[in-house]
């Protein structure tokens, strides 16, 4: 019976029968009797008329999806930023440690060569410049993260 079912399924799905299957149909009384009906069912299934998609349907879907997408976008942006910040914070202690030692060493050397007040003034400016650079670097992180996310999105669509 399984072989009969397989052969008749092939007929139902409109597939061409191979030589073995065709030989089975002509030798098997059950398949011989059924094949006409199965072909008729296949023809009836093929004759279905499905109306076209209403033109406004996809626009409606996109309109309804807009708030969900906005939420996804906010969540994705937050995650990208959180990951970028987390990655950036890893080397921060080392950077602070090196900067501190650089400033201290510079102050020590300057103190030998220059009057105390001048050495302090130069070292303070040096420290302030380093702090400003660090602030600028970390301030850029959200901007870079946002840009990276936009680029990735465009890459996905391309």
């Amino acid at each position: 019976m399984t072989e009969c079912d397989d052969v008749l399924s092939q007929l139902l799905l409109g597939r061409a029968l191979d030589a073995d299957a065709a030989a089975h149909v002509s030798a098997c009384p059950h398949c011989t009797a059924e094949q006409g009906r199965v072909r008729r069912v296949a023809a009836l299934l093929a004759s279905d008329d499905v109306p076209p998609v209403p033109p406004a349907l996809s626009a409606r879907v996109l309109r309804l999806a807009a708030p969900l997408l906005a939420r996804q976008a906010r969540r994705a942006a937050w995650w990208t930023l959180a990951r970028a910040l987390a990655a950036a914070l890893v080397p921060l202690p080392l950077i602070l440690f090196l900067d501190f030692h650089l400033v201290r060493t510079a102050y020590g050397v300057l103190n030998v060569l220059l009057p105390g007040a001048v050495s302090f003034y130069v070292a303070f400016n040096y420290a302030a410049t380093l702090a400003l650079l660090l602030a600028l670097t970390y301030g850029m992180i959200p901007i870079v993260a946002e840009r990276q996310m936009r680029l990735r999105r465009e890459e996905c669509r391309a």
């Binding site: 399924s9 009906r37 299934l45 996809s58 996804q72 906010r74 969540r75 996905c156 669509r157």
Partner: protein, 169 residues
Amino acid sequence: MATDEDLMTAVASGDGRALAELCGRYERGLHRFIFRHTGGRDVDDLYQETWLRVVRAARRFDRRRRFSTWLFQIAVNLCRDWHRRPPPEPVDPASFEDSRAGPSGTADASLDARRLLAALPEAQRSVVILRYYHDLGEDEVAEIVGCPKGTVKSRLHHAMARLARLARQ
């Protein structure tokens, strides 16, 4: 051209244009699937809900899977729930006999694809639509309807036997 899976990654990050592109690719196939499954009832609502589920679950989509399989899986589940919702409409084979026995109507006039599909239980209907109209392989249909490949085979056999009975002269 971006793959469906790439577009899904973009949808997961809230990209509306990627969703529009996916909708365009599957609009016709998905709409037809739902239409055949429900016999034309609540098609637009189910179509819409399928896409909204796609968006809601976009972050959980596994990129290693085929998007089309996942999409139809969602549609099959929604159609399944839909069939459970209202009083079911199993078409009694006897009603076919009655309508065919009418004085003027020929058998072919009363039997059409929609009525044939409506005569099948929901599980068999999904298999017939996916195998016959969408030309999907047994493996993919098995994944979509969530059953072993052997069950897909036997559902198709049972459906065929039932349909052939209905078509019996």
